[in-house]
C-alpha cells in the first residue's frame, strides 16, 4: 500500500530503521513513508517503541541509529542536529512538554519561530511584530495571552501544556508534525480544541503522524493510515477502520500478528 505511486514526492521516508539506547535495541527495522496531505496514526502498547520513533525522527541525542535511514524531503537527515531538523520543518509535539524555569514563553516562541523563518529566508520578527502573529495563532488553540508571560510550560496544567505544543506547531508551520500522545490528559473539550487546531494548521502540502492509544482523537482527525507497533516493529498497517478494530479487540489481538513483510 505504501509503495503505490503517488503524484508528489514523499515528505518523510523511514527505511528499515533500527536504533538503540545504552546498547539496548528499541527499534528493530521500521519502515514508513509519508506523503503530503496524509495523516498517519501509530498505535501500540506502552514500550513498543512509538515514542522512540518520534524522538529519533526529531534527533534526540540519547538514541543511536544502528541501521537504516531517515529521509526528509528526499535528503538523509540521520546526522542532522535536532535544531536543523526543526528549522527545516520537522515538528515533534511532546508527550510530556518540558518545563523551562525562568525562560519566558513569549521569548521562547519568538526565538523558535525566528529560527524557522530564517531557514525559510523570511524576515525575522521583532517583539512587536511577533506579538501580533502570536495573538492570531493563540485563537487557534483558544489560549489566554497570559500564558505568554509565564515561563515555558512551568505550572501549566496538562491540557495547557498540550495546547502550548499546538501553538508552537501553528507558529512553526512544519512540513510534518509528529504528535506524540497529544490527546493524553485532555478532557473532551480540550481534545476538540486541540484537534480542530491541528486540522486548521495542516493542509495538502503538510503531513501529520499521530501517536495515540485512543480512538477518540482519531474520531476528530481521521487518519489515512493506521500502523500498529509492537516490540520495535510495525506489525500491521491498515486504513482508519484498523483503529476501530483495535479499540474493540485490544492489543492482545495484535499479539497474534506476524510481522507483515
Amino acid at each position: 500500500m505504501q509503495s503505490k505511486m503517488k503524484e508528489s514526492d514523499p515528505i518523510l521516508e523511514v527505511e528499515n530503521l533500527s536504533a538503540s539506547t545504552d546498547n539496548l535495541p528499541i527499534l528493530k527495522g521500521v519502515s514508513l513513508t509519508v506523503y503530503p496531505g496524509e495523516i498517519h496514526a501509530i498505535m501500540g502498547r506502552n514500550g513498543c517503541g512509538k515514542s522512540t520513533l518520534s524522538k529519533i525522527i526529531a534527533g534526540h541525542p540519547s538514541y543511536n541509529i544502528t541501521n537504516g535511514d531517515i529521509k526528509f524531503l528526499g535528503e538523509n537527515i540521520n546526522s542532522l542536529e535536532p535544531e536543523e531538523r526543526s528549522q527545516s520543518g520537522i515538528f515533534l509535539g511532546f508527550q510530556y512538554p518540558i518545563e523551562i524555569p525562568g525562560v519566558s514563553n513569549l521569548e521562547f516562541l519568538r526565538v523558535s519561530t525566528n529560527a524557522r523563518r530564517k531557514f525559510l529566508k523570511k524576515e525575522e520578527l521583532d517583539t512587536f511584530d511577533f506579538e501580533e502573529l502570536v495573538k492570531e495563532k493563540l485563537e487557534i488553540v483558544k489560549m489566554d495571552p497570559a500564558f505568554l508571560s509565564r515561563s515555558v510550560n512551568q505550572g501549566f496544567s496538562g491540557g495547557e501544556k498540550k495546547r502550548n505544543e499546538i501553538l508552537q506547531m501553528a507558529l512553526l508551520e512544519p512540513k510534518i508534525a509528529i504528535l506524540d500522545e497529544t490527546d493524553s490528559g485532555l478532557d473532551i473539550d480540550a481534545l476538540r480544541i486541540v484537534a480542530s487546531g491541528i486540522k486548521k494548521i495542516s493542509n495538502a502540502q503538510t503531513a501529520i503522524i499521530l501517536i495515540t492509544h485512543y480512538q477518540r482523537l482519531l474520531d476528530e482527525i481521521k487518519p489515512n493510515y493506521v500502523h500498529v507497533m509492537s516490540d520495535g516493529q510495525i506489525i500491521k498497517t491498515g486504513e482508519s477502520d484498523l483503529a476501530l478494530e483495535l479499540e474493540e479487540k485490544g492489543y492482545e489481538w495484535t499479539d497474534n500478528f506476524v510481522k507483515e513483510t
Binding site: P61, E81, E83, S86, I100, G102, E107, V111
Partner: protein, 480 residues
C-alpha cells in the same frame, strides 16, 4: 527584561578585555614593609592621619594569618613578590581630560567606557581607575550642582579630609580580616561618593577598574556615604589583561546609609579568569560591607561574578537603624578551573530590620562554586525578618556546588527563612529547545539567563543586558 537575542552575537567571542596597554608606568619596587607604605602615602601626598591609619593596619596585618576556611585551593601568595604601587606616567597635575594620555583614553574606549566629552556615556558618571590611580571622573560639575561629590578617593583625601577621617574604616575596620588589613595598609585608589541630605543622585555613578600591569596588585578602596533621605545607584565594572601569572586584587568597599537613605551597589566582575588549564587569572579577595546606620535606610548589593581565578567575597549589611533593609542579589558563574566562595552576611541589630538574599550559583567545567552566608539576629532585633534563597545550577558532571548557610538567632521574636535548590540543565530541556530550532549554545544561554532572572531583574538596565552577554560568553564550549 533581558533580551536573549543579545546573547547570540557574542557567544563566539573569547575574553575580549585581555589586551595590555603599552604605556610607561611608574612602579615602586616589589615587596611590603613600612618604608613602602610610607612611600605610597608620600606619593599621594597624604595627611598624617592616613599614614597612621595605614601603618596601624600594617602592624595588625603582620600579626594576622591568611584565612583558610573558604572552600578554595590555591598556591600560597608571596606578598613580598608583589608591586604595591603602579601608575601610568603622566603630567603631575591634570586639569582637564585633554591632558590625559590618549593611550589611556583609548584603553577605556576599547573597554566600552568612553571618557571624552564628545563620547562619554550620557546617563552615567564614570570614575576610571587604571592600576593604582584614578584617570578621570566624568560629569563632575553637573554632579557638583546637586552637591554630589564623586571623585577618586585620593582626591577626596585632599579635598574632603574631614569626611574621610570621619568614615574611613568605620564599616570595615583594618583589623576586620587579613585582606582588609592588607588593603588598609596599601590601598592606592578607588572611588569616593557623597550624597548630601535629601538629594536623589541625578544619574547613576560608576567606577571602572582596570588592572593593566601583570606584577602589581590592585588594592582599591571605595567609600560611599548617603546622608539622610538621599539615594544613589552605583555600578562597578572590572577587567584585566590575560597574563599567565596570578594577580592579587584585594579591595575594600564601605557604604554608609543614614536615615531614610538608600544605596544600590551593582557589580559586574569580569577579571581575567585564567585559561582552560587554570593558568593565570586574578585572585579576587574583596571585603564589601554596608552599614545601615539610619532608620529605614536601605542597602542593596547586586553582583554578577563571572571572572577571576579565585573569588572570595561576601558583600554584607549591618542593619543597625530600626526598620533598615539589606538586600543581596548574586549570580556567580564559574567555568574551567575557576573557584568562587561567595555570599553575604546580614547582621540584624536594630528592631524590625529586614533582609533578602537571592543567590544563584552556576558551575560549569571543573569549577567549584560555593555560597557561604550568615544571617544573624541580635538580641535587640525583635520583629526582624530574613528570607534567603540559594539556588545552584550544575552544567556538565565535573563541576561542584556547595551551600554553607550559617544562621544565628539571639532573638526569639524574629523570622529566618531559607530555601535552597540544586538543578542541572537536563538533556531533556536542551532537546526540547533544540527541537524548536534553537541552537545548542543558545539553548544553554537561555536557560542560564532564565535561572538568573530574579537577580538580573535587580540590575540597572544596561548592566542586565551586559551581564546576560557575559554569561553566554563565559559558558562557551562548557557543555557537551
Amino acid at each position: 527584561m533581558v533580551n536573549e537575542n543579545l546573547v547570540k552575537d557574542v557567544v563566539k567571542e573569547p575574553y575580549k578585555y585581555g589586551f595590555v596597554t603599552d604605556i610607561e608606568t611608574e612602579k615602586i619596587e616589589k615587596g611590603l614593609n613600612e618604608d613602602i607604605i610610607k612611600l605610597i602615602s608620600q606619593k599621594k601626598e597624604e595627611p598624617k592621619f592616613l599614614l597612621d591609619f595605614r601603618l596601624k593596619a600594617f602592624k595588625k596585618w603582620q600579626k594576622m594569618k591568611e584565612p583558610d576556611w573558604a572552600a578554595l585551593g590555591y598556591k600560597k601568595i608571596d606578598y613580598q613578590d608583589i608591586i604595591y604601587y603602579s601608575a601610568p606616567k603622566q603630567k603631575e597635575k591634570i586639569s582637564s581630560l585633554d591632558e590625559v594620555d590618549p593611550k589611556l583614553l583609548e584603553t577605556f574606549d576599547k573597554l566600552g567606557i568612553p571618557l571624552t566629552e564628545q563620547k562619554k556615556l550620557t546617563n552615567v558618571a564614570v570614575d576610571a581607575v587604571f592600576d593604582s590611580v584614578s584617570i578621570a571622573t566624568t560629569f563632575r560639575e553637573e554632579l557638583a550642582e546637586h552637591g554630589v561629590i564623586f571623585c577618586s578617593i585620593s582626591e577626596a583625601v585632599k579635598n574632603h579630609a574631614d569626611l574621610i577621617e570621619k568614615y574611613l574604616g568605620t564599616v570595615v575596620p583594618a583589623s576586620d580580616n587579613y585582606f582588609a588589613a592588607l588593603n588598609s595598609a596599601v590601598f592606592s585608589d578607588g572611588s569616593f561618593v557623597y550624597i548630601p541630605k535629601g538629594v536623589t543622585c541625578p544619574m547613576d555613578l560608576s567606577s571602572y577598574f582596570r588592572i593593566n600591569s601583570g606584577d602589581s596588585g590592585q588594592f582599591e578602596r571605595t567609600l560611599i556615604i548617603a546622608e539622610e533621605s538621599s539615594s544613589v545607584s552605583y555600578l562597578e565594572g572590572c577587567t584585566a589583561p590575560m597574563f599567565d601569572t596570578n594577580t592579587l586584587h584585594a579591595a575594600v568597599v564601605e557604604l554608609i546609609a543614614l536615615d531614610d537613605s538608600s544605596i544600590k551597589y551593582s557589580t559586574v566582575q569580569n577579571w581575567y579568569a585564567g585559561d582552560e588549564e587554570g593558568i593565570g587569572g586574578i585572585f579576587n579577595f574583596v571585603t564589601k560591607r554596608g552599614k545601615c546606620l539610619g532608620k529605614r535606610s536601605k542597602i542593596s548589593w547586586s553582583q554578577v561574578e563571572t571572572g577571576s581565578a579565585i573569588t572570595w567575597k561576601y558583600p554584607s549589611c549591618l542593619l543597625l537603624g530600626e526598620e533598615s533593609v539589606g538586600e543581596f542579589y548574586s549570580v556567580a558563574l564559574t567555568n574551567n578551573l575557576q573557584q568562587a566562595d561567595t555570599g553575604t552576611k546580614m547582621i540584624h541589630i536594630g528592631p524590625r530590620t529586614k533582609s533578602t538574599i537571592v543567590s544563584k550559583g552556576i558551575s560549569a567545567g571543573n569549577s567549584k562554586n560555593s555560597y557561604r552566608g550568615l544571617v544573624k539576629m541580635g538580641t535587640k532585633a525583635a520583629g526582624s525578618r530574613n528570607y534567603s534563597q540559594c539556588d545552584s545550577m550544575l552544567i556538565g558532571d565535573q563541576a561542584s556546588a556547595n551551600t554553607f548557610p550559617y544562621i544565628k538567632s539571639q532573638q526569639p521574636n524574629s523570622e529566618i527563612e531559607h530555601e535552597a535548590s540544586t538543578c542541572r540543565i537536563s538533556e531533556d530541556q536542551l532537546f526540547y529547545l533544540q527541537s524548536r530550532g534553537i541552537e545548542f549554545e543558545e539553548a544553554v544561554s537561555m536557560m542560564v539567563s532564565g535561572f538568573c532572572r530574579d537577580v538580573f531583574n535587580q540590575l540597572p538596565m544596561e548592566f542586565a543586558a551586559e551581564a546576560d552577554k557575559l554569561l553566554a560568553l563565559k559558558l562557551e564550549g562548557s557543555v557537551g
